[in-house]
Symmetry: C2
Subunit: 284 residues, 2 copies
C-alpha cells in the first residue's frame, strides 16, 4: 500500500470520482493537484483543477506534470464518453494524433496501459486509486439493508465464474445473470448501456422472454492492473439496475469503487435492491 | 447421420429456414410436413404448412403430431421475436401458460431443451437439421471471393477461444472481435441487435473508439445439442455486419447453418466481406 502523503497529481476524467479521490486524500493529509481533461471532466472538477488540458495533447500533459513534479500520478474518472468540446479539442491536438489513434485502436485497456507506460517512461510513479484511497473501495459486506435472496447467491457465483472464464481476454468487467443464464456481457458500451439492453429484455409483456430478478456482477478482471480503468458502481448504476428489473448488484470487494458511497447505498435501499461487496474471482 | 427418408414433421418458426429444410428433404426423397407456429412462421411457410398451431398450445401441438405420426420431428426457424398475433394467441393458450412460463423463465436453451424432452417423452424421435440436411451447413471453406486478411485470422482465433471459454455457460454463440478486443458478446438480443450495437461503436467520428475491420465469429457451443437453436447466418447478417464496419464473418464449419446460401455468398461478395467456414472450437 502506497502512502497518500506528498503531492498527488490526479488526471481527471468524467464523473465524481476525481473529486472524491481528492477529498479522500485531503482527509488523510495528502495534497492533490487536479489536471482536468477538457470535455471529459465535470464542471465542478474543472473548477477545482490546477490546470485543464486536452486528453490528446500528450506532450502538453507531460509538460504540465514536469512543472508540477508530483510524488505520484493517478488516473481517475472515465474518458469513455467525450463531450463536444473533447471532440473539438481533438482537432487542436492534431500533432499527436498518430500516436494517440494508434493507442486507441488497440482497445481501452491498452490505451490506458499506453498512458501508464508513457508516464513511467517519463519518470513518473503511477499509483492506483485502490492503494491511495482504500476508503473508496467496496468492502466485503452487505451494503444497505436489502438482503441477498437465496436464488441471487447462485447467480452471483455464476457471474463470478463467467467473468473468471473471460478474464484472459480484453473484454468488459461486468455481466448480468438471470437464473442460469448470462443475459449480457459488458463491452465498450459500458455498464449503463448494458443495463438498458437488459431493461429492453425484461420490459416486454405476454411473451416477455426474461423475468425480473437478475443480478449485475461487476469486478476487476483477474490480473487487472488496478491503476487503469477500475470498475465503478454509483447511484446511477442502481437506477439503471432497477429499470433492468434486477434484484441487486454484487461487486468484487477491494476491486471495485463505490462512488458517492452514502448516496449509492441509500439509493439501493430506496429502490429495494441489494448491494453486496463479495470476494469474487480475483479478489484479494 | 439420420436418413431423411419417410415423413418428417417440421416445427416451423420464423425466417426462411423451415422451407429451405423442407426443400432440401424433398430434393433427397423425403416427405416433410410443416406445422407452422402462428405469429412466428412467415406467410410463405404458413401457406405451405399442413397445419398452423399456437406455440404455447403445447397439448394441441402434441395432438397434431400424434395424428400425423411422423418418423421424426425437427425444429427449424426462430421463435425469438413474436409478432402481434403470437402475443394475442398466447392469451388463447392460457391453459398451458404455467408450464410454458416455467420453461421460458429458464432460458432459451432450456426452453427448447424442454420442448425436445417433452416430445421425446411423448414417444417422438427428435432430429437435428444438421443430420437431416447437411447441405444447409457451412462447409470448411472460403465462401465467396473476398479473401481473409491476415489480421482477421488472429481475430478469428481469438473469437473461437473466447467462445470456447464461455461454452460451459448458457450464453450466446457469437462474438465480435476487433484487434485484440472483444467488442460484443451475443445475448438473448440476437446477432442482428449485437451487430447494431457494434455499428454504434464504429460510427462515431473524431474520438471514435472502435476502428472498422472487426470480425463476427459464430458457431455452436461445445457440447451444444444441435437439435435446438443452431446458429444461423443469412443475407441479412451480411448487411448488418457491413453496417458494423466488419471485415467479414467466420462460422463453425458443420456447426452453423447458412440460410439462402447462394444469396448469402453473393451478398458477402457484393458488400466486400469475407465469409469463412472454419473448424472453430467444437467443430467436428
Amino acid at each position: 500500500m502506497q502512502v497518500a502523503g506528498g503531492r498527488t497529481a490526479i488526471l481527471a476524467g468524467g464523473g465524481t470520482l476525481p473529486l472524491e479521490l481528492a477529498d479522500s486524500l485531503i482527509r488523510r493529509g495528502g495534497a492533490p493537484d487536479i489536471l482536468a481533461f477538457r470535455g471529459f471532466a465535470d464542471r465542478r472538477t474543472c473548477k477545482r483543477a490546477r490546470e485543464v488540458a486536452d486528453l490528446l495533447d500528450v506532450r502538453g500533459i507531460i509538460d504540465i506534470l514536469r512543472r508540477w513534479g508530483p510524488e505520484r500520478v493517478v488516473m481517475a474518472g472515465g474518458v469513455h464518453r467525450p463531450g463536444a468540446s473533447a471532440v473539438l479539442s481533438a482537432v487542436a491536438a492534431l500533432r499527436n494524433l498518430d500516436y494517440v489513434t494508434d493507442l486507441m485502436r488497440s482497445g481501452d485497456d491498452r490505451l490506458l496501459r499506453g498512458v501508464v507506460d508513457l508516464l513511467e517512461q517519463e519518470g513518473f510513479s503511477v499509483a492506483s486509486i485502490a492503494d491511495l484511497a482504500p476508503d473508496l473501495l467496496a468492502p466485503a459486506a452487505l451494503l444497505g439493508h436489502v438482503p441477498v435472496p437465496a436464488a441471487a447467491e447462485t447467480m452471483i457465483a455464476l457471474g463470478a465464474a463467467v467473468l473468471t472464464a473471460v478474464s484472459p481476454f480484453d473484454v468488459g468487467q461486468a455481466v448480468v445473470v438471470n437464473g442460469s443464464r448470462i443475459l449480457a456481457f459488458e463491452g465498450p458500451e459500458g455498464t449503463d448501456a448494458m443495463l438498458a439492453r437488459v431493461a429492453g429484455m425484461t420490459r416486454r409483456t405476454a411473451l416477455r422472454r426474461v423475468e425480473p430478478g437478475g443480478v449485475l456482477v461487476k469486478t476487476a478482471k483477474i490480473g487487472q492492473d488496478l491503476r487503469i480503468d477500475m470498475p465503478v458502481v454509483g447511484p446511477a448504476t442502481l437506477a439503471r439496475a432497477r429499470e433492468a428489473g434486477l434484484a441487486g448488484i454484487a461487486v468484487g470487494a477491494g476491486r471495485t469503487l463505490i462512488l458517492s458511497s452514502d448516496e449509492t447505498i441509500a439509493e439501493a435501499d430506496r429502490r429495494g435492491l441489494f448491494l453486496l461487496g463479495a470476494p469474487l474471482g480475483g479478489s484479494a
